[in-house]
Symmetry: D2
Subunit: 346 residues, 4 copies
């Protein structure tokens, strides 16, 4: 039984960590921090946890967090950067769900996040926690930067095409849509049910912070001579709570062969990537509450544009579930421990 | 063409007034106020109004408002009380959508609204703007206190029973449910789509501010010897934007006779109350965007409990539509002017 | 590991049984029947089950079902009645999720379900599977009639009041609302998203089939001299998928004492009934996907009407979860086995 | 006052025609047909129309329809083809909301709709009813083929780019999403609220019937030497009732100049196309119930992919509203008659 600490537990990734860890056979949450809700029982804020946790929120404290085997950061960007040197120096292993250590270029991070990076010396230590790419590095990592939600769905969709040099990397398009839980648990007018239900819109079309993260990840799987990579990424807001759907478009370089077989082979041994039969369309509800990514690939009218559809639950495979998957790998547990419940349907 | 002013136009009753008045043949909005959004075009805040209004929000000013023929208050409680004496002294006619002048007992108002009433001397002037009860008084009123949303649906449902002394007034129950727009256009965590969609709950079961308003209204139609009136009122929050559904229960005093005929006769000449055929169940979407109240009455298993179901659009018949209906009556227009579009379905 | 058979697996209670049993440590689904989908893999119909089941639907067959330790009926009414004699004679234990054996009076059953009861001789054998009332009888039962969804929420809410003779049983009111999954997985216009979303309505106010079941259950806990019991039950349709909310009203006979303590004591040892702190309002999402019933009780303005609010997930505690709870009791397992995941929130 | 007939009035385009025509000052619905609902009052099927229409459905009959000034077909494909010769020979003017006469190539129509075209001789007569392209032809047409919903949103978004030869027509992408009302008012499992709410998916990615219609329309505005045109079109199903959002991608041929000005100029005189300010994102609710199309254009990171976002209400500008706009043009009325209400928001 390993001891788990969670920094910043009052948001949706916090409660999702608690939900998933409630029955994890090898991990126990010992600390969950929040300055604003100090001493409030977690089950008071999140009634679904009544009967599952006796824990109350506490103020963050490096000493007590340092006694944990692993600490999850479920915080806004900037927080993990400030606390990381001390935790790392104690030997604590960390899974950071925020964007603080995802981008390898500190200047690029600063450009998109609007401030200086607070801990550039540890960026090199961080392993990008997409198990389907970096499983072996994750196993030995002290610091794992857990991917964003859009980046997870988008990279898993594009990887087989790019690894095999089948498409023009300079004309990639990701049309993605997310449920409102992606915007977090914070008061706002735009995210009111009265404003965002029964409606649909794009946002951040001029540039979303996940763009550099996705481009960095996709470049990492390109062949050397594949040429420059450029992605047009347009996120949209869905009137649902959970779920990301990415519809990906790429231009084939020539005869692509059997794309269905390509995807099935690439992900044959992945416990959390499910390639659907040819002709399928994944729906977000088929992964709700689960750590699964379901993918379908097609080539409409046999023209030269390939379309990939990829769905995840943004709070699970897109955040807290993937964080636990990383923890399982880091501690040598079965990778699916605590993550093998079927999605909730209907 | 009368000149209309709106005080406090950035909320949902404000935009609903603008939507309904956009094509009113006898009224033109000249002023709409907001301190927070001063100089911002209304069509910038409410994109549905693009092309319909050139107006921008202005700071509230008694001089310019005083030039209007009628001023609507679409403000939180307390605001109308402060501005009313000056406007009234200029002879301006006012329709107040807030709760400021609905309750005749200033002490009772204070108890439920948690502060001293700011203008007790004008309470007596105010006519309670439920046209189905007070049409003739409204016609001559200078100040109309427009009923709340729950009170409108609940009173219209109970009135025929109480006017005819058919039920025990001491055991009335109103189980009501409202869409989220009833909570207004203000940032909050509880009203996020992520929190309130795909869920249902009661709230304020210990006592909602609309309770004294409803009880006052129902008492006003009781026969003299009917005995004391007591209502149990439990509101619920629906995961929809617009709509109120009230399910009303009362104990019959004896053989009630033909309740269907009673309701049909009571509302035969009412343009905005529609009694559905026996066996019907009104649905909130059947009145969405319209000023109609639809009602059905039944007596399950011919036992002694009568059940009435009443639906309105909380922003229309429950607020801004009824306010315009009052305006039409005050100025001698056809009562349905600007209010005769069918509900939006589907 | 016991062997489980499911008759009628293509509906929502069927897929919910499969979801909950996927990781049950003591039960394995061996057979799932459907004539219409014979030979179709269950994971084809329900994509959330991909990777969790290799099973395909088969035609119902008494021989193979008879080899199971327990058979669940997740069928429309009438089916279980037809197959029950043969299964019972083989000694197979049965949990019937349908209404076939809930009502003890065959004539009353016929009146509400519109046909002759097909197996009146076994009605006496059936134990009504509400563990909070009948735990010891369930342990030894061969045939358990699993309660309906509305009856579960309503009975659990009223039981403490009626057991203690605190309210007038002749004036009970249950105002209840259900998500659309309660209507089952069958094509209809009324249940289209285009028809039932963004709306709310009552239905079956003249009489719903769950009324006699609820009244029978409530009568069973009444004191001998409590007098006749009569319930007014009005169900409503919520624009959500899962969840039942019952708002219950009863007239107190006198000083009721500490209702909060009464409820807390009554359910202190119940693993699946959670009495919320005074002043709370249970929300349906707090039990989504879980077997929990959450209850709050209040007495508005200290008047003589008590209000109880009770929420369950209609597919879990209202059907398949409760069925598994019954199975756990019948086979001597820990009652919470396979049922201890927190609800999904947000 | 012209006389209007509607063939096939029980679907969503039928009730939307009735809603919009209820207050049209120059048109009166005299006949509405349905074999299945013969003699049923329209207000019985559509409760929002209570008080607005005394009309009942009648069986379709060429004689009585022939007495109308204009007949709308709100029917599944195939029906208008069968009745068209007789109506046309009587001189009746027709607006066909179905797909029967939209595609100029009868063989192409047959390929996508799976049967022989029933009236190829009249295809040449039909004017494609997109007023922003064909206003003058519509004015004189006897038969107008009203565009589909996806084609309307998509064409209005692409037209300025293609007319000005700014993009490569061989690599167009339309990622579109529709509310469920687009699937019509017919019983199905997939369109149940229980199945389609709280979820999102693509469908028909291998080829949707609107693809050839869109490609035909886009080709019609291309410069002669623009080269071949090819569109990848992927529709998605939104968990909302009304609304289409099209996100369009095209590769710029070179320096595109001021795209914002281009769009504003192109649509400056169009009453039902609203180009939003630079940086905006149109939301479907901003056009709900209205005939408006709102469009925004952007060029992310100044790279060579242009993104256009276009929203309409699929039942209004995407069907019945556009049909009435066509009628207004055909009869010389003000084009906005009956169509100038603001969208419903919130």
């Amino acid at each position: 039984m390993i001891k788990v600490g969670i920094v910043g537990g009052t948001g949706y990734t916090g409660v999702e960590l608690l939900r998933l860890l409630a029955n994890h056979p090898q991990a126990e949450v010992k600390i969950i921090t929040s300055r604003a809700e100090e001493n409030v029982p977690v089950a008071h804020l999140f009634p679904n946890l009544r009967g599952h946790y006796d824990l109350a929120f506490s103020a963050p404290d490096a000493d007590t967090l340092g006694e944990c085997d692993v600490v999850f950061f479920a915080t806004p960007h900037g927080v993990a950067q400030a606390m990381m040197p001390e935790l790392m120096s104690r030997g604590t292993r960390v899974v950071d769900l925020s964007a603080d250590f995802r981008i390898k270029d500190a200047a690029l991070w600063s450009k998109w996040y609007g401030k200086e990076h607070g801990c550039p010396q540890l960026i090199g230590e961080a392993v990008y926690g997409l198990p389907e790419l970096n499983r072996h590095l994750i196993a030995d990592a002290q610091l794992v930067a857990c991917p964003g939600c859009y980046p997870t769905a988008t990279q898993l969709g594009f990887i087989p095409l790019l690894e095999n040099n089948l498409v023009d990397p300079s004309r990639l398009i990701a049309n993605a849509a997310s449920g409102t839980s992606g915007a977090g648990r914070q008061a706002s007018i735009d995210a009111l049910l009265s404003e965002s239900s029964d409606s649909f819109k794009a946002y951040a079309s001029a540039g979303h912070r996940h763009l550099p993260e996705i481009e960095q990840g996709l470049r990492s799987v390109l062949n050397k001579d594949a040429g420059p990579l450029s992605l047009t990424f347009v996120p949209h807001l869905l009137p649902i709570v959970r779920g990301i759907h990415a519809t990906l478009y790429a231009t084939l370089r020539g005869n692509a062969g059997d794309l269905q077989a390509l995807y099935e082979e690439r992900y044959a041994n992945e416990p959390f990537v499910d390639v659907l039969p040819a002709g399928s369309h994944p729906q977000t509800r088929s992964v709700k509450s689960s750590n699964m990514c379901r993918i379908a690939v097609c080539q409409p009218q046999q023209r030269d544009t390939v379309v990939v559809m990829s769905v995840i639950d943004n709070l699970t495979k897109g955040a807290s579930g993937q964080a636990i998957q990383n923890m399982n790998i880091m501690f040598g547990f079965d990778e699916t421990l605590g993550l093998n419940s079927p999605a909730l349907l209907p």
